[in-house]
């Protein structure tokens, strides 16, 4: 054990907070889609990968300025979310959950293979690094700080959107009762499409921040997908607040666990905590009763 309560330990705790921002952002879209449509996009991390490739393409190949490429990247994934719902999800909406998992799992492998065919196996990156800030002998990446701020901001924006707009209210209403709302004149098909677009857009937003921190390659989704899915389940599938809290818990396990023991122990302890919680509360920390 290597866990002295020194400045390095504090740095690990704060880095855990910043990592949580990224994980929370990734969990947000997945939870929104599940909460409203009741379908788990197992291929969610692959949509992020699509966004990363789109940004790379628009910036490095087409030559557009990075902010424009990022905006287009978000748009591409939002449209991909709509297509995913219209083409893949809608036909299996009323089938058992296992069918929905399998088709989105199929999309996962399709997107990986398509990315390999389209972009090759080489690791790509946009060559932008934002540097870091240091104080009191602690260092923090501007990428992670930016991600953290964006994650907080987008949660507030989404919260306001769902609370204060007509469409947001309709989305919340559909998420509470899918059967009754059509009788009240709400077009659930349209709500599902809008939710899918927002879910895709959130994946695109995550992609804009991840291209600043990670190389792009067809399997990057596998690096994050299982962790994000675990966070969503831990928080309570469909609970955006739960996902946010779970992201902070898991990130602290990873960084503090990794700091006190070996890096891999951080992940091991995080998964152990997940299993214990699921035994005690199968619905997750903030989920409704199963």
């Amino acid at each position: 054990m290597d866990c002295a309560l020194d400045i390095f330990f504090l740095e690990a705790v704060l880095n855990g907070l910043l990592l949580a921002g990224l994980l929370a952002l990734l969990a947000l879209g997945l939870n929104l889609v599940f909460g409203v449509i009741d379908v788990v996009w197992i291929c969610y991390a692959e949509l992020v990968m699509v966004g990363m490739y789109a940004i790379f393409h628009f910036h490095k190949v087409v030559g557009l300025p990075l902010p424009v490429a990022m905006a287009l990247g978000i748009l591409v994934v939002a449209v991909a979310g709509v297509i995913l719902h219209a083409v893949v999800i809608r036909p299996v909406l009323d089938t058992p959950p296992i069918n929905q998992l399998l088709v989105t799992g199929g999309v996962l492998f399709f997107l990986q293979a398509a990315a390999t065919m389209a972009f090759g196996v080489e690791f790509k990156n946009i060559g932008v690094q934002l540097g870091s800030v240091s104080f009191a002998d602690m260092y923090f990446s501007w990428n992670r700080i930016l991600t953290f701020v964006v994650a907080l901001a987008i949660v507030l924006v989404l919260w306001q959107f769902l609370r204060r707009t007509f469409v947001g209210t309709a989305i919340r209403a559909v998420s509470q009762d899918r059967q009754i709302m059509p009788l009240m004149g709400v077009d659930t098909r349209q709500i599902y499409l809008i939710t899918s677009a927002i879910g895709g857009g959130l994946a695109g937003l995550a992609a804009t921040l991840m291209v600043l921190q990670f190389d792009i390659y067809p399997q990057i989704g596998l690096q994050f997908g299982p962790l994000v899915f675990m966070i969503c389940v831990l928080g309570g599938l469909g609970s955006m607040v739960g996902g946010f809290v779970a992201a902070f818990i898991i990130a602290q396990f990873i960084t503090i666990g990794g700091s006190c023991f070996a890096t891999e122990w951080g992940y091991a302890v995080a998964f152990l905590f997940f299993m214990v919680i699921i035994f005690i509360r199968p619905q997750g920390l903030f989920g409704g009763k199963v």
């Binding site: 290597d2 690990a12 990592l19 690791f123 390659y217 596998l222 690096q223 962790l227 990873i254 891999e264």
Partner: protein
């Protein structure tokens, strides 16, 4: 006259067809070639090695094959997944009925595959994977590897530091603080074990040692611990994307060092490192079997320099790459001396290409130093040896990247530069 001419043409055609008959019936050796053509390992060097192997096959077939046998590759993609690699090996041997297996990039694939192939008494020629665990105390009889093994990787970096501690770092060897970090598969763990044993035997201080998953999403905790341990030298063994993640997070976290020594895989891809990190990748060291084009052809057996030049020419033409990574040499070299040394002897002396003949021919291989394009010789440890099947004459070099070019820094007999050590002031990672 017309009839005569037609008759003559018919005769000529028949003669031509007759001559073509034996060629059409040319004997074949079917080789199952397994590499990771997709997934993270592909860009980590596996694809480069696959191209190198294919170039060797092309060049051999253009010369008319080997003792009347045409080399027919049956390519398989292990997809950077261990289970796929094993399934493909079984498919190639049992369904495609190949005569032998060749290639294999990842040690994580190599360890179980070698044991399985050997148990089935089939022949396997490993080109790239390095883990000593493939052979150590396994007494394999049908698996051979000319490639350098992980213990040697681990030893080379420590010896390089020891050789330069006083003159370059101005430190006694016993004062050098070393951190060993590695991906936690057989490859990383194998090299790290070699690092630890050698560095400790030389009296260096191991201030931190840690393995991590190559697919880790975050290495900030590891970087923080390294800052706390404050090593002079970091010995790192990893694939991609973990290497780029480590370098990025180290930069962001202000981690500094006097030398960073990588051990193949992701560190062997200089063009990728330069593209990602630019000048920050300058002065990184990489332990690997040497990229053949870096050697002085005069130190090699006559004719090998031309072979290297042809390989480099074809590699650049096929891939568009400006730099030819060591993995291309590994894929080519191991295949080349198999086709030019082992296979002819199996056919001529041992009666064919069955596993028994190939095995006997491999055990008789005796190529002196300078006899392969990567400089080292080839002599396989015999059955009963703790490393039976491993080349006893293989050796790595320590290379350094300077201004986007690869230079040899160690051993002294081969070095092409005076190594830059410690990192010069002003470098991103310099203390």
């Amino acid at each position: 006259m017309l009839k005569l001419t037609t008759g003559a043409l018919a005769l000529g055609l028949a003669a031509l067809l007759g001559a073509a008959g034996p060629a059409a019936a040319q004997k074949e050796i079917k080789i199952g070639v397994i590499y990771d053509l997709t997934g993270p390992f592909a860009a980590g060097g596996s694809k480069a090695a696959a191209v190198g192997t294919q170039i060797a096959i092309d060049m051999i077939n253009e010369k008319g094959g080997v003792e009347g046998y045409k080399v027919v590759p049956v390519n398989a993609d292990a997809q950077s997944k261990g289970d796929v690699a094993i399934n493909e090996a079984e498919r190639l041997l049992n369904d495609a009925k190949v005569d032998m297996l060749m290639g294999v990039f990842s040690s994580a694939h190599c360890v179980p595959m070698a044991a399985k192939v050997d148990a089935a008494k089939k022949f396997m020629w490993a080109n790239v994977c390095v883990a000593s665990a493939v052979f150590k105390d396994k007494n394999l009889k049908y698996v051979f590897r000319g490639q350098v093994h992980s213990d040697q990787f681990g030893e080379a970096s420590c010896q390089f530091i020891a050789d330069n501690a006083k003159s370059k770092l101005g430190m006694d060897v016993k004062d050098v603080r070393v951190a060993i970090i590695h991906e936690d598969g057989p490859y990383g763990a194998g090299v790290a074990k070699g690092n630890k044993e050698k560095c400790e035997s030389l009296g260096m201080k191991i201030v931190h040692e840690e393995g991590y998953a190559a697919t880790s999403t975050d290495l900030s905790a590891l970087v923080t611990k390294l800052r706390r341990a404050s090593p002079d030298v970091i010995l790192h063994t990893g694939y991609n994307p973990d290497i780029t993640l480590f370098l990025r997070q180290s930069k962001d976290a202000g981690l500094k060092w006097k030398a960073l020594i990588g051990h193949g895989a992701g560190y062997g891809q200089i063009d990728k490192l330069m593209a990602t990190f630019g000048k920050d990748a300058d002065y990184i060291y990489n332990v690997d079997p040497v990229a053949a084009q870096l050697l002085d052809p005069k130190t090699l057996k006559p004719g090998l320099g031309d072979i290297t030049a042809e390989m480099v020419k074809r590699y650049k033409a096929q891939t568009g790459a400006s730099e030819v990574p060591p993995h291309a040499s590994m894929g080519f070299n191991q295949s080349w001396y198999f086709f030019t040394d082992v296979l002819p002897r199996a056919i001529k002396t041992h009666g064919g290409i069955d596993p028994e003949a190939l095995r006997k021919a491999a055990l008789e291989t005796d190529i002196p130093e300078g006899g392969t394009i990567q400089g080292y010789g080839v002599k396989f440890n015999p059955p009963g040896h703790p490393m039976a099947g491993q080349n006893a004459r293989s050796s790595p070099v320590v290379m350094q990247y300077i201004g986007g070019e690869t230079k040899i820094a160690w051993p002294t007999a081969l070095k092409t530069i005076d190594p830059v050590l410690p990192l010069p002031k002003g470098h991103t990672y310099a203390r």
